[in-house]
Symmetry: D2
Subunit: 228 residues, 4 copies
Amino acid sequence: MTAPNYGQTFAHMREGCLPSWQAYTRHAFVQGLGDGTLPRKAFLHYLVQDYVFLVHFSRAWSLGVVKSETLDEMKVCAATVDALVNHEMALHVKTCAAEGISEQQLFDAREEVENIAYTRYVLDAGLQGDFLDLMAALAPCVFGYGEIGLQLAQTTNADAPYAGWINTYADPEYQSVCATVGEMLDGAVARRLGDDPTASARWATLQDRFTTATDLEVRFWDMGLRGV
Amino acid sequence: MTAPNYGQTFAHMREGCLPSWQAYTRHAFVQGLGDGTLPRKAFLHYLVQDYVFLVHFSRAWSLGVVKSETLDEMKVCAATVDALVNHEMALHVKTCAAEGISEQQLFDAREEVENIAYTRYVLDAGLQGDFLDLMAALAPCVFGYGEIGLQLAQTTNADAPYAGWINTYADPEYQSVCATVGEMLDGAVARRLGDDPTASARWATLQDRFTTATDLEVRFWDMGLRGV
Amino acid sequence: MTAPNYGQTFAHMREGCLPSWQAYTRHAFVQGLGDGTLPRKAFLHYLVQDYVFLVHFSRAWSLGVVKSETLDEMKVCAATVDALVNHEMALHVKTCAAEGISEQQLFDAREEVENIAYTRYVLDAGLQGDFLDLMAALAPCVFGYGEIGLQLAQTTNADAPYAGWINTYADPEYQSVCATVGEMLDGAVARRLGDDPTASARWATLQDRFTTATDLEVRFWDMGLRGV
Amino acid sequence: MTAPNYGQTFAHMREGCLPSWQAYTRHAFVQGLGDGTLPRKAFLHYLVQDYVFLVHFSRAWSLGVVKSETLDEMKVCAATVDALVNHEMALHVKTCAAEGISEQQLFDAREEVENIAYTRYVLDAGLQGDFLDLMAALAPCVFGYGEIGLQLAQTTNADAPYAGWINTYADPEYQSVCATVGEMLDGAVARRLGDDPTASARWATLQDRFTTATDLEVRFWDMGLRGV
């Protein structure tokens, strides 16, 4: 699949780690979501871990507000926190509730080591670096799920086992979040790295953050499969 | 005026620095807002500084999401960021626009030293301490404006010069924010300090943060008056 | 082995997660260090990862200075950063240099997921919580290595394969660091939690941080063994 | 006085705010230190505030370790923390002890609003931005005191009232700190902004941080004079 149009920065960084990106977006877990062969037990294990992931991901996007330097950056980050806390996490709560798992149980779930590694890496990118360092580490999750959603939606029926999950991310509302974040990110990059960002001194470091976060997405899917 | 009912923690901390609290809530600037004698120039000077204040205050409430340990703490902080960015700041934008000051000009305004001191003190309370340290430093602004709004609304006519400002804070919507924050704060205190928080080892430190932030509110009004 | 005397806080937290603590301090990797059966390849793999670990551990102790509230806390944290950067890491540099691995190669080593998880968890404990939250997450490494050093030194000859490693931690200089940190930690706990800290509302949360960090130590040894 | 040779970055930033820089380094307070006309009371007021300033300045340099991306950055920041905590602050402790003011009294001194503004602004520069943002805000104090020390030492006798203060900063040891920090800063800038840093997109923002911190130095001297 070609890259969705989430802006220039995403296109460059995705291209800069294509093997990792494909290992992430075409992972066996993803394929199992698409063709419905993923065991329910693995899905639920993933969903519980992903809920805790989103808690810390919301903390990281809030750190994005703390690190913003423009009004636009603040507003996009604040809106993303709202989307995560009040919408994306609701899918997890609803699906898990149907299986008898309460939201407090989700919040208190014991984190797998891959989960800790990913979320705390992102938060530390924000503590150690600036807004761009944090965004480069946040980007693979936001954009990757958008790309996976679009990709799986092309071949999934409405009554497929994981159609609800797929539609959450293929949905125009989520795609619109990706487009907005991508546009904001391009502006944030231009503001700090100028007109030719991939030629700037910091690009390799930022690419490394994007690549590391992408590799940690792969480990997250591995963890999901292990839950079978 | 008696303390509005914004919870036990607020009641204790307000009582713990009553002279400072009264210097803040009964300041000459506040009286000038109430009786309409505050020069327009001073009000506009204050409003521009307060806009920049709210930018950093939003950053501090976002840091509150980063530091939350419960779902309720996260949700209240995220909702407060939304209220600040999308509602409270709108009053400033609208009022200043009528005077020919654009939002970008507000965002870029040169901060007075009292403004820097207050906002950065609050942010550092969050960096240095935990969720309670941050909340103790955030509380005087949230609750004080609520109390001032109620107090001034008792004697203000709808056509008074600063009725718009007063109503923003006397409004049930803002009062509801105060009540929600107060309830969340009581829960956050109980969770960390137990059933008898004022007897706990940390109380003096937390009171000191509340008192320092209250004193910085006084300096902020002083700065407003200096703008004449 | 009974707990070394590194203060009351350590004694309580160690007791509060004894199975995890024993899984950590009596791990197969530790036994292999003691009886010399640990393959050299596994040791070097561990040493390279541990160097990067110490880089981030130094960052976390520096965050301890940022979060200190007393002069004593500042001084102990600053001295620990100095001990890490200028002494403990020197063992790694020297040992690795003998194997043809430069310090820059160590600094640039690709981190294993267990390494990322542990160091970033500790740093985030400091970002999310206060000084105690950070210290509870830092404690298992400092004190555990002291305990392991003492334990292995009882049965190790001076010419044993890993005597250099063992002596680094059994050494009076390192033991003195443990005692100093332990005493400072007891003071920090008394200041914030009072005279009966294990009965305080925050104790369970702090124990959880200590336990999680201990479990991540176990995973770190697992990772070391995997390097064979 | 021409700029001391503390590296290219300092030279550019100093030049970029020359009126502010001169208001800082040629302030009436500085002149009073040099010719001995500064009232003792003002000096002591300044010294007490400066002690608390150095506490938070040490916290900010420790945050520099947290934000470092190279071994050299870490080592220089850690060494600066050591120099501050164990050497520069000793002058204050010793001088104040001779006046009957204990170190604990210094640590607990009530901060003036200019003091809060300056130190928390620097700390927030580190929280909001990256290593360079923090360094740009830390630089005016480090380099300015070096320049002032050299400047005053040219015309001061050994028995002048404030010769001790002047010598602390004119001393080769302190000048060596300035040179080391300046060299590290040039490297940090090259790493992130490339070969022509003043032409980079971020330069204006970094200059603004340096200028703001310089202006806050001016306010700090104002505060010192007010202590008369």
